[in-house]
């Protein structure tokens, strides 16, 4: 497939935004549970704003993917069948909750919403945080399912796609959260960095799992089934036009195999190896680890951009069987 930067930025930015939100809510929850220092509202509000900005940028990027963005509102109508439609519903809903969550913290508006049996008070921010987390997961799933649901793209058509989108989004969000915590001087670097390392390593495992799976894929369609001729040797001579078409632009990366391979190594290093090392270094550092962590977050994000580029480039659409040769 052609890796469109609109979609690459959309998925990586909102993924980081979702991860960051989850990380923030986790810090709040840990604080409430006394398992970590409690953070003040401003820390959470500012962090939520960052998450919201990432989500907003992703949303803006997504418009560049549409031929007719002015009609984007129509996309919400087919949620019964279309994962794309679901994503379009979940993303603003999530953003709304994130906004409210941030606003509540900003205004320090945090009354008890209700009291559960056993005298457990449920604060507004916790309710919003839990709703947000659910929506973040829903958003991970719907975004990933846009790709995983297309059975023709065998590289995508796997639960691993959902796992990867979720884990990689979360990992990048946690790394970012770690850097944010370090920058704002919150006493959370340790717990966040550990989680970020865990998520990054988990992401490495699941991503490698998908690489291994994809390397073994036997294409379901062949030239034989594409044109219905049973002969072992079929070669396309002419795709019927020579100057290119939508079908030659949308479904091909137009890069060499070497380039694609290089991108794979780049993302394995940049999205996983370097951030893991930097996060680990930050744990051992005695001086302020902010700059190291910012570098980790930035490198990981760029690595994930490469990962997403590779994700598209690697997917081989069966329609390409029909568009191989000009003559």
């Amino acid at each position: 497939m052609h890796p469109a930067f609109s979609v690459i930025f959309l998925t990586t930015l909102i993924g980081a935004g979702q991860g960051l939100f989850i990380a923030l809510f986790l810090t709040e929850s840990l604080g409430l549970l006394g398992m970590a220092p409690t953070q003040n509202g401003n820390f959470l509000a500012l962090g939520t704003l960052a998450s919201l900005i990432l989500l907003g940028l992703g949303l803006i990027a997504s418009f560049f993917h549409l031929g007719r963005p002015e009609r984007a509102w129509r996309t919400a109508t087919k949620w019964r069948t279309s994962w794309l439609s679901r994503e379009v519903i979940v993303l603003p809903a999530f953003m709304g909750v994130v906004f409210l969550y941030g606003l509540a913290h900003w205004l320090n508006f945090n009354p008890t919403l209700l009291t559960l049996p056993g005298d457990r008070a449920v604060l507004v921010t916790v309710a919003l945080g839990m709703a947000g987390t659910l929506l973040a997961v829903a958003l991970f799933v719907s975004t990933a399912m846009i790709y995983a649901a297309v059975k023709f793209l065998q590289e995508w058509h796997s639960p691993l796609t959902v796992v990867n989108y979720t884990v990689l989004g979360a990992a990048s969000g946690f790394t970012l959260a770690t850097a944010y915590a370090a920058w704002s001087g919150a006493q959370l670097v340790h717990v966040l960095a550990s989680t970020a390392i865990a998520l990054t390593l988990l992401g490495l495992v699941t991503r490698i799992a998908s690489l291994i799976r994809n390397a073994r894929i036997k294409p379901k369609s062949t030239l034989q089934t594409a044109i219905g001729v049973k002969h072992p040797r079929i070669v396309q001579k002419s795709q019927g036009f020579m100057g290119g078409s939508f079908n030659t632009r949308e479904f091909f990366h137009h890069k060499s195999e070497g380039f694609v391979r290089a991108v794979k190594w780049i993302f394995l290093i940049a999205a996983f190896a370097i951030p893991t090392i930097l996060l680990a270094v930050s744990l051992l550092m005695t001086v302020d680890p902010t700059s190291v962590l910012i570098a980790a977050a930035l490198i990981q994000y760029l690595g994930l951009v490469a990962e997403r580029w590779f994700f598209f480039a690697q997917a081989n659409h069966p329609q390409n069987l029909y568009y191989q040769s000009v003559a």
């Binding site: 031929g67 087919k78 379901k220 079929i234 002419s238 939508f246």
Partner: protein
């Protein structure tokens, strides 16, 4: 229920591209148009077409088959492009099974094209909406056209009549008969899309000449090889030998 479709006979398609440009011609000024052409007189011209003719070589010299292969939307009975559309712009008509795009609803997200294994949808680069074969829905029901003319433009144009058009659910239709009797098949059956369009395969006609059929009693050589009889009065051995 009606399912309109094309049946394409690879046994007679000579790859002339008549269906390609007649389609472009009808549709660019029709309900589905205009179909843009970019850089029409410059390097790498490109444009929106609903129909293409491709060429494949099967086998190795000298046992090579050159297969010309026209391809447009197959109007699947289980069209994977329809449910994925977030706006409902991509839809399949109940009444005749034609898969269409509502250009007013389409947001140009291209997701339907990802969900089509056949590569038959094209985003019009100018209108920025998804376009595709409509089976000339603006011809086939047009009461202003005489009945013989109510066919897709490609079917009307095809010089070898390699494109048959009709209802594949009607067992007595020309298309159903052709599929049944000539081994009509669907493309990429492995996906379960159940394309309504079918293809008819190549078949070979042979003549067998057996050794004993070559010679006949009326072989003209027997007539012409009879050389003229010499005159009885011409000299012969009879005249000069006596034993």
């Amino acid at each position: 229920m009606t399912q309109l479709a094309l049946v394409i006979d690879l046994n007679v398609c000579v790859g002339c591209h008549a269906c390609v440009t007649s389609c472009k011609e009808w549709n660019t000024s029709g309900e589905a148009g205009p179909l843009v052409d970019l850089r029409p007189y410059d390097a790498d011209p490109t444009g929106t077409f609903f129909n293409r003719v491709q060429t494949f070589e099967v086998g190795e010299y000298p046992n090579t088959e050159t297969v010309h292969f026209p391809k447009s939307c197959l109007h699947c009975e289980e069209p994977p492009c329809v449910p994925v559309c977030p706006t409902g712009a991509s839809y399949k008509r109940e009444e005749d099974g034609i898969v269409l795009v509502d250009y007013d609803k389409c947001i140009g997200c291209k997701y339907c094209s990802w969900a089509c294994p056949y590569g038959v949808r094209e985003v019009d680069a100018q209108r920025r909406v998804m376009t595709k074969c409509t089976l000339c829905v603006d011809r086939i029901y047009d009461q202003a056209l005489p009945e013989w003319d109510r066919k897709p433009a490609c079917v009307r144009a095809c010089p070898t009549n390699a494109r048959l058009f009709g209802d594949v659910h009607d067992p007595d239709s020309e298309v159903s008969t052709a599929i049944r009797e000539n081994g009509g098949y669907q493309l990429m059956p492995e996906w379960g899309t159940k394309p309504a369009n079918h293809y008819l395969p190549r078949h070979k006609t042979r003549i067998t000449v057996r050794e004993d059929e070559l010679e006949r009693t009326d072989n003209p050589l027997r007539i012409d090889s009879k050389l003229p009889k010499p005159d009885r009065d011409e000299p012969s051995l009879d005249d000069v030998t006596s034993w």
